[in-house]
């Protein structure tokens, strides 16, 4: 019984130490573990400007515009506080839509983000089309009521 409780202490103590070590490492590398920065972080100068990085947020409503050449797209990424204009040349993923989440990778040049890759970010909500339609109508109704 003595040896058994000693082994319990050893295993328990070892796992506890390990968790503490991993927690310290993860909090130290916090900045490198984020997949993207928000437009507000970019505005605060927290993003690695000059290097390739990613910005994530919502595609601003009414911001998508195609250039005359047909392949260059302009839009804006927002986190509702700050807005960053983006230009991108290439095909967009199917789920890329105004008002939906997106992550863009590229460089910030003179206030405009030159994206080399655009990813759509899906949220955790799954609903049938009829339900989505109902939600949309309810939001429209709320908007007209508040006006």
């Amino acid at each position: 019984m003595k040896a058994r409780s000693k082994r319990l202490m050893l295993v328990g103590g070892g796992v506890a130490l390990l968790i503490a070590a991993v927690a310290l490492v993860l909090s130290a590398f916090q900045q490198n573990l984020v997949f993207f920065h928000t437009p507000s972080e970019v505005a605060e100068g927290k993003a690695p400007v000059g290097k390739t990085f990613r910005i994530g947020g919502m595609v601003e409503d009414g911001s998508i515009a195609r250039e005359a050449d047909g392949v260059t797209v302009r839009f804006a990424i927002t986190d509702t506080a700050k807005v960053i204009p983006v230009t991108y040349k290439g095909t967009l993923p199917d789920l890329f839509k105004e008002g939906k989440g997106a992550v863009v990778q590229g460089k910030l040049e003179a206030g405009v983000f030159q994206a080399s890759e655009v990813l759509a970010k899906h949220d955790e909500n799954y609903m049938p089309p009829e339900a989505a339609h109902a939600v949309e109508q309810a939001q429209q109704a709320a908007k007209t009521l508040s006006q």
């Binding site: 796992v15 993923p93 789920l95 990813l119 899906h122 909500n125 799954y126």
Partner: protein
Amino acid sequence: MTRPERGPSLWRFAAPQHFYPLAGRLAPWFAALAALLTIAGLWIGFVVAPTDATQGQVYRVIFIHVPAAWMSMFIYLIMAFWSAVGLIMNTRLSFVMSQALAPTGAMFCFVALWTGALWGKPTWGAYWVWDARLTSQLLLLFLYFGFIALTRAIEDPRRGDRAGAIIALVGAVNVPIIYFSVQWWNTLHQGASVSVTKAPSMATTMLTGMLVMAIASWMYTIAVVLWRVRPMILERERHTEWVAAELDRLAPGAARKSGGRA
């Protein structure tokens, strides 16, 4: 030799000799349940459940992806649990259980990564990104491979058991990292649609299909592990009389020959 009977107790099944026949008797029932639930779950998921408003049909991957991902994390935690029990209590069966679980966990982990990649291309626009969720899940697959390789590579089973148990316990730290990665850091992977702290953010039939598939994967895991554990017990206990008798029953004559060599 035998201890005085103290009435029926679950503890007696901690002995390989008693667990072996129990596993053989229970496994077919769990396999049958797994088959029934899989058929029901796939039917709900692919026939009954509606399409998703934004993703269309592609979302149906969740009926396989989510249960597989849950199971891959859960199995690793059970392996860590059995490893800790084995290290502390010195029980023979515990290490066998964790080693029998590993291949199934690795399989579910691979399925989760693979279906996720197939879903990621049409939805995100990329098969793979190095965000915290995907990277930690890939690390889980490598931990499974490491555990399997290490326990198989070490000749002496006692040393192999201990080495594997340490990988299982160390690697278990990764499981909460996978689970909470979508909350702790910005990730491309979406947050949890189903959790204990909030109401699920998905339609009821979709949720039902996913949960039925999750229970089916539990039943499948239990059945497969019970079947996998039986020959492992025979191999480890091959010097005992009951195994000699069992082998003689399975293949009359053959057991005596191999017994003579050992």
